[in-house]
C-alpha cells in the first residue's frame, strides 16, 4: 500500500497539483495507522514509521534516514498526546484526528523542508510557502477519507 501510494503521489498526482502542492498519501496512511495503533505499542509505531519513512526517502534525493527518524519521533509524540486525550467510550474520535494531523503534517513538512533545502532559521517564513499549505489541504482530504473508510471497516469487523 505504501509503495503504491509512493508511486501514485510522485507521478499521477503531479498532474493534479493544487498550486504546486501534491497530496502526501504516504504521510496520510502513516498517520492513520499510528492514530489507530495500540496505545502501548511503541514497536508498532516504529515499524510503520520505518516503512513510511523508507518510501518517503527513497523517492527524495537525500539519504535514507531523515523521514524515518522524523516519523518515529512524530509517531511517538502523537501516541503520547493521544494517551493524554483518551476518552472512555471512543479512543479514536474524529475531533482529535484533524488537529493532530495538521500539527504532525506541518511539523514534518517544516523540518524536512529545512533539512532538504538547507534553509536558515531566519528564512522560516519562506519555508512555509503556499505549496505546503495546499499540500496540507490536499493531504487532509485524503486523510479524512482514509479515516472514515478505516473506521467503517473497523465497525464492520467488530
Amino acid at each position: 500500500m505504501f509503495c503504491f501510494f509512493a508511486l501514485l503521489q510522485n507521478s499521477f498526482f503531479t498532474y493534479f497539483n493544487l498550486f504546486g502542492g501534491v497530496p502526501n498519501l504516504i504521510f496520510a496512511l502513516f498517520f492513520l495507522l499510528i492514530f489507530f495503533a495500540n496505545q502501548n505499542s511503541a514497536i508498532q509505531v516504529v515499524l510503520w514509521a520505518v516503512v513510511a519513512g523508507f518510501f518517503l526517502d527513497i523517492f527524495s534525493y537525500s539519504f535514507i534516514a531523515p523521514s524515518i527518524i522524523l516519523l518515529v519521533v512524530l509517531g511517538l509524540i502523537i501516541k503520547k498526546i493521544q494517551s493524554t486525550l483518551k476518552t472512555r467510550d471512543d479512543n479514536y474520535p474524529a475531533v482529535y484526528y484533524v488537529p493532530l494531523f495538521v500539527f504532525s503534517f506541518l511539523a514534518y513538512a517544516l523540518i524536512i523542508s529545512i533539512y532538504l533545502n538547507y534553509i536558515e532559521v531566519r528564512k522560516i517564513a519562506f519555508v512555509f510557502s503556499f505549496n505546503i499549505i495546499f499540500s496540507l489541504i490536499y493531504s487532509l482530504i485524503f486523510a479524512e477519507l482514509f479515516f472514515y473508510i478505516y473506521k467503517r471497516w473497523l465497525k464492520s469487523i467488530r
Partner: protein, 280 residues
C-alpha cells in the same frame, strides 16, 4: 519500602537502557543502509519505473481529459499547441536578437554551434517529488553525468542533473528552492544595454525574478533567457516571462513575478545536453 523504591528505579533505568540501545542499533542500521544508498535507490526505482511511467501517462491523459471537459472540447489541446508554437517563436527571437546584438558574423557562428553542436540525449520523465526534483529514465549507463543542463524540445531550460544513478537521474528544476539561475532580459530595443538578473526558485514549480538593478526598466511580458554569466547553462535558453513587477523602494534591487516556460505537465521527454562544456 526502600527496597521497593530501589527496584522501581532499577526497572526505570533498565527501560531507558533498553531504549538507548535500541536507538543506537536503529541509527547504526540506517547508517549501514546509507552506505549502499545508490544501488538500493537505483534498483528500487528501476524495478518500479514501468509502473511509475504508467501512472505518469495515466495522469497526463486524465488531466488532459478533465482539462478538456472543463474547457469545453478541444480548447485545452488548442491552447497547448499555441503555447508550443509561441515558445518556438520566442526561442527563435531569442537567438535572432543575440545574433544582432554582437558581432554578427561571430554570433552567427556561436549561435549555430549552440543550436547544432550540442549532443542531446532524450530521456523520459518518470516522476516528480514535492521538492521540484524530477526523475528521468536515463542514468550513468547512458552517459548522463552530474551538472549536465536539461532542456525541452522548445529550447526551454528545465534544470540540471543533480544526482546520477546507473539507470536514472534526478534533475533539480530551476523552480527548486536552492536553484539560482543567471538570466538576462530580452530587450525589444536592441540599442539598450543588457539587463542581468537572477531567477530564484520558490518551490512548488514557481520562481521569481531578482537582483534586477533599480534603474533598469523591466515590464510585464519581457522574456528572460539564460545569460552568458551563468556558466552552468548555455546562453539564450528560454527561461520565463515577466508577469508582474514587485515594487519595493527600500530594496536595492527590483523583483518580479514570472511565469516559467517549462511546464512539468507537458514534460514527457526532456533532453540532456551531454557535451556542454562550461566556458573558462
Amino acid at each position: 519500602m526502600n527496597s521497593i523504591n530501589k527496584l522501581s528505579i532499577n526497572k526505570k533505568n533498565t527501560h531507558w537502557l533498553k531504549f538507548l540501545i535500541g536507538g543506537i542499533v536503529f541509527l547504526l542500521l540506517l547508517f549501514i543502509l546509507n552506505l549502499f544508498v545508490s544501488p538500493v535507490r537505483n534498483s528500487f526505482l528501476t524495478l518500479f519505473s514501468p509502473i511509475q511511467k504508467t501512472f505518469w501517462a495515466a495522469g497526463e491523459s486524465s488531466s488532459g481529459f478533465f482539462g478538456s471537459l472543463l474547457n469545453s472540447g478541444s480548447l485545452a489541446k488548442e491552447n497547448n499547441n499555441l503555447k508550443q508554437t509561441n515558445q518556438n517563436l520566442l526561442a527563435q527571437i531569442a537567438v535572432l536578437q543575440s545574433i544582432e546584438q554582437g558581432n554578427q558574423a561571430q554570433s552567427l557562428v556561436s549561435a549555430s554551434c549552440q543550436n547544432s553542436g550540442f549532443k542531446l540525449l532524450m530521456a523520459g520523465v518518470t516522476g516528480l517529488d514535492d521538492n521540484d526534483i524530477l526523475s528521468i529514465s536515463k542514468g550513468s549507463a547512458d552517459g548522463v553525468a552530474q551538472d549536465m543542463p536539461v532542456i525541452n524540445q522548445q529550447n526551454v531550460l528545465v534544470g540540471k542533473v543533480s544526482k546520477v544513478y546507473k539507470n536514472f537521474s534526478k534533475i533539480t528544476l530551476i523552480s527548486n528552492k536552492n536553484s539560482v539561475t543567471n538570466i538576462k532580459v530580452q530587450q525589444s530595443d536592441l540599442t539598450l544595454p543588457e539587463i542581468d538578473g537572477v531567477v530564484r526558485g520558490n518551490g512548488g514549480l514557481t520562481a521569481h525574478l531578482d537582483l534586477i538593478p533599480i534603474n533598469s526598466s523591466i515590464n510585464p511580458g519581457d522574456i528572460l533567457v539564460t545569460s552568458s554569466l551563468d556558466k552552468s547553462f548555455p546562453k539564450d535558453l528560454l527561461v520565463a516571462q515577466i508577469t508582474e513587477k514587485i515594487k519595493n523602494d527600500q530594496k536595492p534591487f527590483q523583483q518580479a513575478k514570472i511565469n516559467l516556460f517549462f511546464d512539468v505537465k507537458k514534460a514527457d521527454n526532456l533532453f540532456v545536453i551531454t557535451n556542454y562544456k562550461k566556458p573558462e
